[in-house]
Symmetry: C2
């Protein structure tokens, strides 16, 4: 099953005049969830500083499904769609507490980078093993609904 | 040619510990550029309040191409990829002052919504005409490089 990665609460700084979470701040919550994933795979701030390696975001796709209000408790769940020796392909879903439907989803491609350069670089053995552990733990999951989308007006 | 939609400067609040613009804040700049577009097509804050209609973001795709530093002056340029009676399909590019290559691009699908509902609703005649004016002004443009992407690990 998807990994319950991150919990937070919608800050007053993140909402529009209607008290609804603004589009960019959905991505901030997903980005904070990726920070949490980095902590879990041996790429926390101290390790990044020591190794001078980090994860760069290459590409992000977002689908907005429901509004989220100021103060709501939210959770980000993670499905790893794929990975190679230096890339992570993720699917993140944002849930409001007590709601079964995701309020938003985000497909993301991340690249491991040697900041001396910067240039792309393979994951360390530890990080690669941690990623593999997460993939094993999630088990077999179907392709999520909003993965692999091309954007287009309805025909 | 693409419409020069919006200028701003990278705030200290938007950067990471390295002084680089964080992924979610690229989207905040694109989102502020869309606010500017709304002003230009008769959907400014006063008109939204009076009509109780607004634009909702349905879907966003982002490609990160170059880092952007704290304090840099940036400009967002707009190409309208398509539209129908209630949807806008946009391609936004973020340029750093003095640089010819985009630092990031974002393809977006926006929906005009009657907030009494909320439910989707056709653009007003004024807004539809303003959109048509922008399309005429931009002229014939090729499909941009990062439009219509499917995300995938390299094969």
């Amino acid at each position: 099953m998807p990994h319950r990665l991150y919990q937070t609460q919608v800050s007053a700084d993140w909402v529009d005049y209607n008290g609804h979470l603004r589009d960019a701040y959905y991505l901030l919550i997903f980005s904070q969830a990726v920070d949490s994933l980095m902590d879990q795979i041996g790429l926390d701030a101290a390790a990044r500083a020591a190794s001078n390696h980090s994860l760069f975001t290459l590409e992000v796709h977002l689908n907005y499904l429901h509004e989220v209000k100021q103060g709501e408790a939210v959770e980000v769940r993670l499905q790893i769609l794929g990975h190679d020796h230096k890339r992570l392909h993720l699917y993140l879903s944002l849930y409001r507490k007590g709601q079964e439907e995701a309020a938003a989803v985000s497909e993301q491609m991340l690249l491991h980078v040697d900041m001396n350069g910067p240039k792309s670089a393979p994951f360390s053995e530890t990080t690669a093993a941690r990623i593999e552990g997460l993939v094993i733990a999630q088990g077999a999951l179907p392709k999520p609904e909003y993965a692999g989308r091309v954007m287009a007006l309805p025909g």
